[in-house]
Symmetry: D4
Subunit: 145 residues, 8 copies
């Protein structure tokens, strides 16, 4: 068995790198939205400049959507990370998308945001507070009984 893991959410800390590094050698393929903030915001610029911020964002969001929609639909499990700052509505959006498709997902966040994340955690298969816990669960998923 091998698994595809989609890493969604916060882009300001190195949680992705930690998880990927610790899973070296496992039969895991990781995918992720483009995590370079500027590149992501500019994803639609090639299609022409926009005067309005709304439409610039709109075009980039939809171009990014080609990527993320495919990644979510092909993953076996998602890890969805909420940091301490920013709205991170895209992460919660991904969680809802996973839930509707029946894709299992693991949330990764600290204890102080339990309450606002209760609906998201309620649909998750696991809540982790550290990347190490996520790694343990992913490895468990692949263990040879």
């Amino acid at each position: 068995m091998s698994i595809n893991v989609y890493l969604s959410g916060e882009i300001h800390t190195d949680w992705r790198q930690k998880i990927i590094a610790s899973c070296q050698g496992e039969e895991i393929t990781f995918s992720s939205a483009v995590t370079n903030h500027e590149a992501s915001d500019a994803a639609g610029d090639v299609l022409g400049a926009e005067e309005s911020n709304f439409w610039r964002d709109h075009k980039s969001a939809k171009v990014n959507g080609i990527r993320t929609k495919n990644m979510i639909e092909k993953c076996d499990v998602a890890v969805i990370r909420f940091g301490d700052k920013y709205k991170q509505w895209n992460a919660a959006f991904d969680a809802g998308y996973c839930a509707a498709l029946g894709k299992p997902f693991i949330t990764l966040h600290s204890e102080d945001i339990i309450h606002p994340l209760k609906e998201v955690d309620g649909a998750a298969h696991a809540w982790a507070t550290t990347p190490e816990q996520v790694v343990e669960i992913l490895k468990y998923t692949l263990r040879n009984q």
Copy 2:
């Protein structure tokens, strides 16, 4: 034609009441998560007290989920409201859930949160800034050509 409209998100202003009042006489049925904050947080308490906040929230979120899951799956269109305060991850979660099911949804939020909502708006059928705009669109959806 009649339509079912699910109203999701912010519970601190009267946007729901405005929309419902202005749609009196139309063939629209509205549904909504329980918007009484305390009642919603306590939805699972009947099943027994919990020491941990996480599990209390978990139980309530899942009891609420019985209600909201059915409402979203039966609606024809959702209106998803983001206010100026709070995380409102449940609203973004509902948006992702709608997107994955192919349910059209309208977002309702002010201009200053365009950027963090770009993925959500990118999947929406319309972005409105006032309840009146939402009402116009709902009525249009029902017009006799």
Copy 3:
């Protein structure tokens, strides 16, 4: 048995009215995109003016999409009309949408556009050249054996 019939396509002749009038008394509910051309083009204007034609059209198309998406998904059979003029790509789009959902549809068009419509007709359950033929088929669908 009663059926929902979605009438899609050309808006410059009275084919819809003919079909509806001839089906009076049958257990048929008809639905249709907004056929008032100006109203349809302006469907998104309530959400704010746009400088660019593309975005004005975009907003209106998506508002109209709330309506048509629901109508197609709820119909039992669609009638898709192609006239002699205009591109009518929305009609072909609706046909593809029906085909992917497995919704039976009847095309209504004259003989001189058989060739460009061959893929659309190939997925249709019937090709009619007059509204009267469509009416006969709809009534047949409802006959008491």
Copy 4:
């Protein structure tokens, strides 16, 4: 990650070749309906001659449909090209098919046909006017963050 890209629509210019050539070396597999016009029109002739044009077209359309139906259902993203001439209803049909399946698609057309394509563009993830823009977006979809 590798992606399957279905190229649909206009067959009289070299847009397919341009895109494929510029994506050499990327992990992209391209597919397409048979673009040799005569071969495509004759796809069903092996099954026996027809006196009526309608049935000849019908047989060929359905034989082609075996190919295109599989290609669309297996693609990760479609590029749908509308040229300046001809009806091209098959391209709009493919767009509707993609939309109903939730397959992301990119439209490729010039600015002067924005209005008749508004429903198609409304369901698309991106609108490009040049093959080069399409190439940029496809490469972005595959970038290593």
Copy 5:
């Protein structure tokens, strides 16, 4: 609870009438393909005469398909009758259609055709040899515990 029952297959004996008559007063709605053989064969004639038998049959089969496709997809249970004569491939086709959709179906046929029907019976929820048995099962399905 009320149920929709689709009656498929043989049209030369009065098994449909027996079942319907014995279920008078129950909350059962029955549906059926057009059982008037000549009317069924002529279902597509309104769309124009055909020289070839194949195309005449083709058109009628597809017009009938609008009706039967909807009936099967809306039924809760199908009864599929195989008589002693004729090929009755449409009945076996309906059985396969039900099986793929997960619709429960009851076969109704005599003991001497058990062997050629083994795949059909293998997918059925019940095999009956008389209309009376079918009636008992349908009534059981509706019983108030």
Copy 6:
């Protein structure tokens, strides 16, 4: 809003009656497998006697399946009761069926069988120990905010 509630599992105590009685006046429709044990075991007998116990059970199970399959697929929420005695594998089977369809379900069982039910409870939206708790949750699901 009104809801359909499917009551599954143990048939030796009056938990169904308690729940139904306490929900009088609510917009709830209840359904259930046939709970008369002897009638349920004999459901297939009308189709002919069997020498082997396996085939007698098989026929009855499949006749019952026509009923329960429809009830589960039409319910909005299921209540699945596990008593202290018997294997009750049909109840766990129903739970798995609900889980795969994404139907929310509430388990109803005492604390001493938590461990063997952990997979079932892990997929449930709520675990109740008394019918009164179930009633509270069902009423909450219908409350007018």
Copy 7:
């Protein structure tokens, strides 16, 4: 592109061998129900002897169903052959199964059974009378434009 082709139906002539031999070197994988009649009829015997023909057939049909269900669901196109003799209800059953799943299929039969096969042909993408025609169509499906 490579395709999976499921070969269904008549087992008394060498149509399968002809098609497979003529497709040597193409990227086609063929699958088929077990075509050794005796082996197929005995597929369930390992599970224990049955006194009744019905149950012997039943067990074998269901064991064969494990194989054929997977093959049909994984194929890209099916070829369904009807010969001049026997009931061949399993072939028509497979056709209905394909139709409900939206799997394209090609029928292969002589002209004298057009009428009883009209519903099956009505749902098919092509009707061939010789294996050579089927081969041409399969090769066309794979051609490099």
Copy 8:
């Protein structure tokens, strides 16, 4: 053809080992829940200790669910074993999950528990009493006609 076989249920005898050993050399990939009882019960412990047995079980069940949900959804056929002891509700849950997804499954159990398993067996494609019978059926599924 190769197949994925999911082995579910009883963990106290060596039925899995027997089946796997006898299928050496066949194109079969086996998967299974973690069958080390203690490891399975502790699957969620990495996420933090729980005072309540219910929540400890809950967390572990959901972590295990990531694994088993993927395995069931990817398998071509499941073998579900019921032993003589314990409740084994997880096995019946898996059977219901398979049934709802349309995954064929084989039950493996002795004759004395036929009656409580009648609903599970009613949805199965085969009932075996020995691992050797399962092996024969799996090999049959792969045979070269």
